[in-house]
Structure formats: C-alpha cells, structure tokens
Homo-oligomer: 465 residues x 2
C-alpha cells in the first residue's frame, strides 16, 4: 500500500461524517500521529480523525471499509511495540476526545469509562470514592485506558490483582462494517456465547475500535508499605521472588530493577537514594491490606525470606513521600534509559522461577553480541523488560547484527516455557519473532478470526501477524 | 441429522485409532452417555469413545472431520444446560480416562492437570501443599475440571477469587483437523496474539477438545469463618449483598438461599438447622484470610451491615463441622430441589444491586404463570439460579405455557442489565433465549469464529447458537 488512498472525495465523506473540526490533514498533525513511544519509528498517516461519539467512530469505519482505507486506532501513543503506527498510511482515528468517565456506580462497584481517559485520572477518581482500579502500567500518568484494553495491559499490581482482563466486564466496540455492539453484559461473570470481551482485550485494534469500557472496581485497601531490597547479583534477587510467594504471601507489587537502571534514574530524574557499592540488583516490594499490623507481619516474613537470598539491605518506606520516591524510581526507569542511550525495549515473560535463568541467559547473549542491557520489570509475574543499550555498539552491528541477538533472547524465553510480550503487545516491531513461539496452526486461527471481524483487513493492518 | 452416520467401516477406523477397549457401542454405555444433569432430556449417541491420550483425541476428531460425524465432548456429565447431550447422535468422546494431575509446580504456583480430574480431587491435592485452587462449583465432588473450563465455571468463591478464567493459564486443545496446540504459555500473563486460551474457556466444546490444563494456584488462606444470616424477606437479604462490599469487605463467599430451598435440604439431606418461622431468606457468608482477628473484625463489620437490612439472626460457624454443615446445605440444594419435584433450572446474572428487583420480578412472573420457584445462588456475583417447580402446575401448562414464563424471566434479566447464564452455559436448553440479549451481529461473529475452528461443524453442533 504505497500510494495515497484517501482521495479528496473520501476526505469530504469523512468531514461529512464527523465534522470539519474533527479531521486533520495539516503537517503538524500528521507529524504528531506518525510516531508513538516505540524506538524512533515514524510512519505518516494521510489523515487524522478525532471523533467524539461511538457513532462517529462507526461511521468512519464504515467509510474506510467501503473504500478500503487502512485505519490505525490510536490512544495516547505511549505504546512500545508500534501498535499505533500507521504503517500503511491511511486514516488515524485518535480517541483523545473520548475523555469522560461516564459513571462510577458505587452500588455495584463498576464504572463506565471512555477509552481516551488517562489511566491515572480514572484511578484517582475511583480512589476518591474509596475504590481501587488496580491496573497501573508505568505510563499510567499519560496512557489511555483504551490503549490498556488494546494491549491487555498489566503493571506492578498484576501480581496480586490481575491484569486488565480481570477488570473489564463489557466493551462497546465499533466494527469495520459500521456496527456498534456491546461485547457482553455489565455483570461480574457470564457464560453465554464465545467471550467477545476477552477476545477484544489484547487484540491491538485489529478487530474493532473500543468506544466504551465497563470495569469492575474493588474496595481500596486502606494501608500499604513499600520495601526496597538490595542484592549482590541479579540471580539472588530473582530467586527470592518465587520464594516470597512460597512463604504464603501475595505482595501487591514485586518489581525487579538492575543497578544500571537505578543509577540512570538517579542521574536523569533526580531521585535521591543511597546506592551501596555492592548492590547490583533490587526488588521493590509492596504489601497492602486493611490492617497495619498484618502488613508489618507480612513485611517481617518477607524479610526473613530475603535474608536467605543474600539480601544486603532492606529500606522500608511507609510515609507517602518515601513511597512516592521509590515508585518514581521504578516508573521513570524506561524514560531514563531512553534519555541515556539509543535503545530497543523487548518484553519477555516466563514462569517466575525461571527468572534467574532468563536474566543470566540475556547477559550471556549480550556478551556474545556486544550489547549491554538494562533489565527491570514485574518479577512477581515473571515479566522482564529488556532494554538493549546501543552504548558502544557500532552503527553497523546495531543495524545488522542486533536482530539476531534479540531473536536469541526470545528463543531463550520460549525455551524456558515463556513467550514474547508479557504486556507490551506485539504490534509492529515484534511480529517477526512470533513464529519462535507460535505454529502455523496458531497463525491460521488468528488470521481466521481477523477475517471474521475485518474481512477487508482495514483495521490496523500488518500488526501482530 | 437423523440417520446413523457411523458405518461399520468408520467404527473400525475408530477402533484402529484408539483400541477396541476404548470404543463402546453396547446399550448400557449408550444409555449412560445419553443424558447429563439437565432436566430429563435423553439423546443417544451411536458410539462412545474413551480415549486416554491427547493424540487419540486428535485422531478421533480427524476421522470425524473427514467423515462428518457429529462429536459431543463429555466431562462428568454434571452439566445443567445440556452441553454434553449428543443431540445429533454420532460420537461421544468421554474424557474420564484423562484423570491424572500431571504436575503441581510449587516453585511457580502452577499445576498441570488432565480434564477428567474431579475438581474437588484437584483442590484437595493442592490444598495438601498449602495451595488454593478456588474454583469450586456446587458439583465439585463429581464434576470434571475440563467441564469447568468448557463452561467458564464459577462457584461460591468467584466473588473474591474470580472465575476459572482467572486461573487457566494455558490449554492443550485438539482441533477438528486433528492438530494439537497449546493455546498460550505457562505464564501468568501474555500479550501476544489473540487470546485463544480465553476464547476456549466457555466455548462448551464447540471449538476444540481440551486435553490438558495449566492453572495458576495461590497460597491458601489459613483461616476462614462462615456465617448464616436470616432475613424476613428475599429483598432484604439481596439488598444487604451490595452493602457488604460497599463497607469495604470482600467476603470469600456470599450466597443467597430462599427458605423453601433450605427447608427441602433439611428434609432430603438430613441437614439439621433451627429454621425460625419468620426467616424467609438467608445469606451464607464466608470470610477468609491469614489472621483470625482480622477475620472476626470483618465479621463484626458485616454484622453491622446486616442489622441495617432487617437481619433476624446470625449464626457464626467456626468449627470445621459447623462450616461443613452450612456448606452442605448450600451445595445440596440443587439435588434436593430435584428430589422434590419436576423442575427446570434457569441461570440468570445481573449487577448485584439489581438482585432485589430480579427476585421480585421472578416471583411476580411466577404468580402470573402459576409456578413456584426456588431461588438461590452466588449473590455476591449477582448470579441467581432459578429453580422452577412444577408443583401443582398442570402437565399441559408445564409443557405449553412455561416457556413463555421463562422467556419473561430472561427478558427481565436483560432489562436489568444482566444476561442469560452466569456460569451454567447455554448448551442445548437455553439457546432459544439467546436472541433476547444478543443481536444478529453477535451471532454472525460467533458463527464466524466457529467456522474458523470447525469448518465442517462436527464439534458439539446445535449448542450455544
């Protein structure tokens, strides 16, 4: 699809459908929607639409379906796998005007929210009513909840509370033929028909465009404590992870960070922390609940576990300021790595007891290919984000050899029983690696499902597979 | 499909694929597999196969796909929606020889289990290692975990721990063309490709046959307490349900029972309980955790909530024997209703705050049509099982008018924002009611997905839609 598809006649139909104030073709807009947070990739759309109602989204899809215009749905553009890149030009449908929390239903502990609401804005709104929506990716301050649905997002609290899959009850979806449906019911469970809600989650905008989201809420725990534990090496830290669960504790977060990552956040974000010379790896652990005594008892138990894994030091944070500082360290790590060097981020997930093997293998692969890596992530879920740093690698090797190294990382991940992407999605940049894990039978099923929803392949084409 | 399809030649191929000791055509076998627990429906298969390996299941499917033989997968036959009824004759594939727990992986808190393992057997096996698998339908003592996957099963503990959807990590599935695939990875989450694991869950054996199941386990809480609260009317009991959550408590079970149901269990199952004259409705509430003081504090809070909803009396059970007796009352209710009268069970689910409206409406519909009903279920999830009792209704009305009454119940459920079936599935008996909730667009998507997996429509045909 090299040529422009959107003729002046089609553009006029777009304008007729959503109004001139929702259609953008100026250079500045096309530039803004040409990239997301994925490396330095750029693909320019022909037109950007900013619809405001589900009906407008459906109308745009219907037109694109008729005229075979590629459509790229876009949330906040914080994705790390290129899912929002308009790689085939065409129309970007930007969902930023869907920015309303439509209802917080306290009697049923549910909320209905538009997909363009910033995740943290929503979390704060429900927290004001004593409720918790626990799906908080590191980018919660800027990402949209609709993008979280598209990627099946996780975040630090998955380890106790589950991914977004466990909170989404029902979705309003615009389909390519211009229909609007609700995938299920606003109930905590149902067993009627194939679960279209779950199928939409993680489908990366390739099956339909989500126009409203009903989520489950839970009572917000009244107390939490965070701890930062230092270890002399990555393996000790990773090995402690599964031992904590085995001791009968489910922390509300259990994050791993390598020393380099911590050092770079201190440098770039002004986080102050007494970084000991022999500390090479860290676990950031949060325990929550309604009873401070129980929480401290759990922290004590965790301490005992950590000691048997060579833990050097534990910093306990129970004031809001201390906790915020520790979590800022974790949340800003991706941004700091990015500020520091050209990099590529790969997302891996294994069974949590395989984490020491995974990280050891990644370093070994890096040694052979000549790249450094900064690893961090949701260790409690076995989910490790691998930031490959260009550093002193030559431009030639970065361009021509690195791909083989990344392939080896995913081959190792799969060999350890894991898979590509714990939560970032496959999008555009990981799809070449999918055959490492999945067979032609999987691809045939996926492509068959895609064909059912989107027979003309207009929705986010060339993503996932 | 009225005529027999399985010729002597095809039968010989079945025998060649799985061995003569796994193929049954005798009258006794055909009788046994002609019914499940759904009303008094009977449909006789032509042949029953009891394969022992995934490869045998795949080989049988491949043959049936080639010769267009309808296949009905069957677990323990405890289903209440007729999902295991061979309504088009053909082959029943009974999974009872898949009865091994293959691995309990304590380091990763995962287990791999065959689909023919009885749910309670599996729960007990993991409990011995201090672990919890919390998906416990009332039939846990006889149902298979594979059937639970097929129906997206719930049970009393969904309210705190979620349905089986939140525990299944990966599935081995035999597909109609004879392929065997793993749907995902043995990881706590992943975001790569459409989630085939979630699509298989609740698909009622219409997309593939599950041959192995990997589930997540969690640390088992060390303590729990059960309470039975009595109320003067259904509405008070149901209204108390959402108030409990609003007080910040997530009980580990929150079950509703009508007086008639309780009285019948006492009569049929010898459960002893001091049933007060003015008690018309009951909530069975369980709270679990690792700290007895916290649990009793939660019970106190719950008590306070109950008092403001006209609660007459609260019985607290903390000994194992007392708890077992209360839970036997709940679990044996379906069986007792069945012993007492010809009945039909319908499964409804609404937002939990709509429960009082739902139950009031059901009684009103019953009054108009002349039927009694015994309602009970997982009130914490808004999931109400409606047992319609034939009682003094004439055979003519039972056969000719009842269906309209049931339709009104589902219309009410949908009007209240709910849907058919919280956990029993649609199977054979509910499918006529599906258009009350779902549009032709839903049916087109479902049928399209079915076509992708099972192009010759051999797998459990005429179920769900």
């Amino acid at each position: 699809m090299d040529c422009d598809r959107i003729t002046p006649e089609i553009l006029a139909l777009f304008i007729q459908a959503v109004g001139a104030d929702a259609i953008f073709t100026n250079e500045e807009s096309l530039e803004k929607y040409s990239h997301d947070e994925t490396e330095d990739l750029r693909f320019y759309p022909e037109v950007v639409a900013k619809p405001s109602t589900p009906e407008q989204v459906a109308a745009l899809l219907k037109l694109c379906n008729e005229y075979l215009i590629p459509v790229t749905p876009r949330g906040a553009g914080t994705g790390l796998s290129g899912g929002a890149l308009p790689v085939n030009k065409g129309l970007v449908i930007a969902m930023e005007r869907f920015n309303q929390i439509l209802e917080i239903d306290e009697a049923n502990l549910q909320a209905t929210v538009q997909p363009g609401v910033i995740t943290e804005v929503f979390m704060n709104a429900v927290a004001e009513k004593g409720l918790l929506y626990p799906v908080d990716p590191a980018s919660k301050g800027s990402c949209f909840i609709g993008g979280n649905v598209a990627h099946g997002s996780g975040g630090p609290r998955v380890v106790k509370y589950g991914t977004i899959r466990e909170y989404v009850l029902n979705l309003q979806v615009a389909l390519p033929a211009g229909e609007l449906i609700w995938t299920g019911a606003n109930t905590l469970k149902y067993a009627s028909g194939y679960n279209l809600t779950q199928l939409m989650i993680g489908s990366e905008g390739t099956l339909g465009i989500v126009t409203a989201i009903v989520v489950k809420l839970i009572p917000k725990p009244t107390h939490d404590v965070s701890m930062l534990a230092s270890f002399p090496d990555n393996e000790s830290a990773c090995a402690a992870v599964s031992a904590i669960f085995r001791a009968g504790i489910i922390p509300s977060a259990l994050e791993f960070m390598e020393r380099t990552g911590v050092a770079w956040v201190m440098e770039h974000e002004g986080v102050v922390f007494d970084l000991k010379d022999d500390a090479q790896a860290f676990l950031l652990i949060e325990v929550d609940g309604n009873n401070p005594d129980m929480i401290f008892a759990d922290c004590e138990k965790i301490n005992t576990v950590l000691e048997s894994f060579n833990c050097l030091d534990v910093l306990l944070a129970d004031s809001a300021a201390q906790k915020e500082e520790l979590w800022r360290m974790r949340r800003r790590m991706g941004v700091s790595v990015k500020s520091n060097s050209v990099y590529k981020e790969e997302d891996t997930v294994v069974k949590r007891a395989e984490l020491p093997n995974l990280i050891r293998g990644i370093k070994e692969i890096g040694n052979r290919y000549g790249f450094e890596s900064v690893c961090y992530g949701h260790a409690g879920d076995g989910n490790l984000h691998v930031n490959i740093i260009k550093g002193s690698m030559s431009d030639y090797d970065w361009k021509n050899k690195l791909n083989d190294g990344i392939r080896e990382i995913f081959e190792l991940t799969v060999k350890l029983g894991g898979t590509l992407s714990g939560e970032h999605g496959i999008g555009y940049v990981q799809k070449a690696f999918m055959p490492i894990k999945y067979s032609p039978v999987h691809f045939a099923l996926w492509k068959g499902i895609k064909q059912v929803f989107d027979p003309h392949n207009i929705l986010n084409p060339d993503k996932i597979f």
